[in-house]
Amino acid sequence: MSSDDEFMSDQMSDDAYGDDDDSLGEEFDEDDDQDFDDGKEDKPSRKAYEVDFKVFSDEQIRKSQQSQVEEVSSILGLPGEQCAILLRHFKWQKDRLIEKYMDGGEEVLEEAGLGQSYDTLPRLEKVRGFACDICCDDERGLDTYAMKCNHRYCVNCFRQYLESKIKDEGEATRIQCPSEGCSRIVDSKTVDLLVPAEVDNRYKELLNRTYVDDRPNLRWCPAPNCEYAVDCAVRPAQLHTIVPSVSCRCGHNFCFGCGFSEHQPCPCSLVKKWLKKCEDDSETANWISANTKECPKCISTIEKNGGCNHMTCRKCKHEFCWVCMGPWQEHGTSWYNCNRFEEKSGSEARDQQAKSRASLERYLHYYNRYANHDHSAKLDKDLYVKTEKKMTTLQSSSGMSWIEVQYLEAASKVLQQCRQTLKWTYAFAFYLERNNITYIFEDNQKDLEMAVEQLSELFEKPTDQLANAKKEMMDKTAYVNNRRIIVLEYTATGLAAENWKFTVDLK
């Protein structure tokens, strides 16, 4: 293990994500949950909604794989190549492999496709009177090959079979003997012997991929072309108590539990249900998420072109909230209740029709706000592009240095992040049962939403006023960020303690 630790500390010392408590190599234990809890106590600074994770490059994954192989090799006294096959066969559960091997070595070797006399290199043979069952060739002096199962084919067919599996189907660990009904796995020595170097490289690459796929604590970053993998100790069984958001070195934030884009505070199972519901109700959803709305006063059609929800009708100058369509005055004051669904359905819900209408209305309430933040987040992203321009203009007009205008970028980032969080708070709220902690949650949500709208509005100021608003903007950014932390802390603590009551089953 020491070599493993060394390599980690070498590679990761300057890495912001690198925590030093457990290296990749030590995580085979079944009691990973334990590890995870321990980690929490070691770092009191970590927030309730944060999880420990590390980011690894392709190269590091390869090396760590190698060090596992070497370690097992030294324990079992077997050649590295065989240990690699054994480890893959055991899905890299080192302890289980060692235990099983100690119980009955031959049996384990047989099971993994490594026969008794495996130490002799696989080789090609010429067999008298041979006819290949695949191509029907029976020429004399034909090179043939068979694995331990003795299903013999001509070299060309065997090669072509392997190439088509590796290149066309992207298979590596599950390639079986070409014979019908034979489930012997083709080992890597066979592949090395039979296929050209280029295909062999692809094979090795695929093996590397399966290493990550086989390990529950590793997951590839789902961003396009990203080659990093994230190591996190959260297991599927914990996903109802924690939402493990991780952040890849490529900049992509995603959920370690389901691979979907970051969705705190909403647990994975609710995200899945919610997205399915939105998809099923897409016709209605299409209708409500249509890009235009009418001014509540003069019925002019209005299109939203910025992230801010404070709308002013060009025609009649009526100021209203894009989300609840109520007058805007209330949004700056304690009358703010745009985020709260009014449960007035009780008395109306006598007959089934009223009930279903109420439930649709309820869904639309949450969906509307969810879709709106989603839309705003996209617009805010466009804004981010414009921010760069604004920063440049501001530099030249106000004489500020590049460093001094960074607050704009920071504000823009926080804004986008908060919209993302807000979006998912509505999916979360949709499945919440109504009780006292729900009210506290809604208050937190309200505070965050109000703050976000204010920051968003600041952002839409013309460039010449931006310089004067620097302090206000920085304060607001910090405040908004704090409100987000409060929302996330509150929901995460409740999830961990299983305090929340949902209308659906989380598991």
Binding site: D137, C157, Q160, S164, D168, P178
Partner: protein, 152 residues
């Protein structure tokens, strides 16, 4: 290609030498990569009395890739797509389960076996599969109706 042709010719010869009742084959042209197939509904099945025309297409890299089998005669069956393609995609017809040592005859026998015993757990037509599981008599009625209508 030449390799594939050799193997296909060999297989054709084998089938001709040992014909299987209820299955008849006829390559469409000389290059042998497309075959017309005729299956008769097995006697004890709901498809009894019907004759089903199928098209077998062998890929250029046969036998490393599986043959493609499609029903040209309409059939009410959970494993055959109910469209103008009549395609099937299960068992050894899927490239991850196909082995180069599998033979065309095995594919045809599997197809005929499915007439005797549909496989609702690997269905293309999920509504038909559902009916097969929950309302067998209605399923049989529909299937027989289709045999009468399309496969006589």
């Amino acid at each position: 290609m030449a390799q594939a042709a050799k193997r296909i010719t060999r297989e054709y010869g084998e089938i001709e030498a040992n014909p299987v009742a209820g299955i008849s084959i006829r390559p469409i042209d000389e290059d042998m990569f497309k075959w017309n197939i005729e299956l008769t509904g097995p006697k004890d099945s709901i498809y009894a009395g019907g004759t089903f025309k199928l098209l077998l297409t062998l890929p250029a890299n046969y036998p490393f890739k599986p043959p493609i089998l499609s029903f040209q005669t309409k059939i009410y069956h959970p494993n055959v797509s109910n469209d103008d393609k009549g395609s099937m995609c299960l068992g050894i017809l899927r490239s991850d389960q196909w082995k180069p040592s599998c033979k065309i005859m095995a594919v045809l026998e599997m197809a005929r076996g499915l007439l005797l015993e549909p496989n609702p757990d690997d269905a293309v037509e999920t509504t038909i599969a559902e009916q097969f599981k929950t309302d067998k008599s209605q399923f049989e009625k529909n299937a027989k109706q289709w045999v009468k209508q399309y496969a006589k």
